[in-house]
Symmetry: C2
Subunit: 276 residues, 2 copies
């Protein structure tokens, strides 16, 4: 397969352009040998702004020597028409799917600006913000207050990925996720704190390879016992023993993204509902 030159890819939307960018990343990931320069152009909600986009696309065409790729979630037909005049490879995400959905559902769509606009007052949005606040208040075993409200409680040794995973669960899925560190005291007793065991069905473990853990910990505390490979090996083995003894499922975060870990946990804990 031949390598191609750099291609500019524009994510253009009347709204935040986050949907266009998310789908765009997925599509472009299918072409790992290509080189893309990705530019997000949100809030293109007037014909003037659309014309300025066309100018940017023109400039990119000259620099790249190839026509740029435009991934658009524009819903306004006037701005869409202006953009489509640009000399670009134009993928209009909504045009293709919305028409088909209208036929299937037998109703007309609103053609108003996208997903994140005007949702701030919605119940779902408020519960996502609540989940973020809950997760922050219950990070790293900070508080047992209202722990019964948690939908997921992550456990694992320090730096195994609990905090970013908990925050992702809250932010993306609106799931209230607490997390607790497994500490030497727990290993000595080979027993989890009673406060956690009361919520056994919500417990889920994270683990990590000793090598990776030692690397991550060294960044924080170089030359410490805490970060030494030997200590990391010991803690991880003890954590595995503890989780197995308590029949807690766990997942290895070493080579998984927080997106993958989160989706896997929700699946295994049985949360299938969608955040919105």
């Amino acid at each position: 397969m031949e390598k191609v030159a750099v291609r500019s890819v524009f994510f253009i939307s009347d709204g935040t352009a986050i949907t266009a960018e998310t789908l765009g990343h997925s599509l472009l990931a299918q072409f790992p040998d290509c080189h893309f320069r990705q530019i997000r152009l949100p809030f293109i909600d007037t014909t003037d702004k659309a014309r300025r986009c066309v100018e940017q696309i023109k400039a990119a065409r000259i620099i790249d020597g190839h026509r740029p790729i435009v991934l658009s979630t524009l819903v306004n037909s006037e701005t869409l028409a202006i953009l489509q005049e640009a000399d670009a490879f134009f993928l209009s995400m909504f045009e293709h799917f919305i028409g088909q959905l209208e036929d299937e559902l037998g109703v007309h769509s609103t053609h108003v600006v996208g997903r994140f606009h005007g949702i701030a007052e919605s119940e779902n949005y408020q519960s996502r913000i609540e989940a973020i606040n809950f997760t922050l208040a219950h990070d790293d075993g900070q508080s047992n207050a209202k722990l019964e409200q948690a939908e997921v409680i992550l456990v694992g040794v320090s730096r195994s990925g609990k905090t970013p995973t908990s925050l992702y669960l809250a932010m993306q899925f609106g799931v209230k996720a607490a997390n607790y560190p497994l500490i030497p005291e727990d290993f000595e007793r080979n027993q989890l704190p009673g406060d956690l065991l009361r919520h056994h069905s919500k417990l889920y473990g994270l683990t990590i390879s000793p090598e990776r853990l030692s690397e991550v910990r060294r960044e924080r505390r170089p030359n410490s016992t805490y970060a030494s490979l030997e200590n990391c090996r010991f803690e991880i083995e003890a954590a595995h023993r503890l989780m197995r003894a308590h029949h807690i499922s766990f997942i290895d975060s070493t080579s998984r993204s927080i997106e993958e870990i989160s989706a896997k946990i929700l699946q295994e804990i049985g949360i299938f509902h969608s955040a919105e």
Copy 2:
């Protein structure tokens, strides 16, 4: 426009199904009068799992009395073929766009599982995790250490939305975002702390309506001066004065989602690059 019965919508993917869900939410938001039951089915990476999905779709069809909608980002042609046999309205996001992109780019796509799979070792992913850690360490003015690494520093009164917005900037865009509360001491001096002023070009303000602020604060501390409408009005006016005096742009978070606020801030601060 006639109301329709509940329709089941399945987000199906070989990977996390997060891309399918994101695009799905955007599309369904165009049909506010319809009632959807949304189900996420991630990691459908074997023919057995695909067959079990078909069973779930069948069951939903019987319950709803309508054929379900399936939004798929499956890339494996074998599982895709099995799913397409289900009696559903099938929108295959990749099939439509990937073929067109292959023609445009003149290369074949890999057809390997999606965006979040295998990214954990990538530099971009690591820098997103780093951004999350930075943002947590610089939440609520906790630390001035390495503040020069921040790409954005949000300022605003307590509970104006700084924390969730900072975390969203880090998690979605990989942007290191610090945040600082504006406090009575700042208002009295009508002056920002010197540590912040050194990074003036990165400062961005959040504001909120006094009514909404009072409501949010009452949830945390009912019947307090802190939460009283009078005090909220005073703080917000003082914050506006302070931000104007320092020529700091600000945005009202009252009826905007963290997605909208974040996209707007990046646009105004001039961060257009894409996270991945």
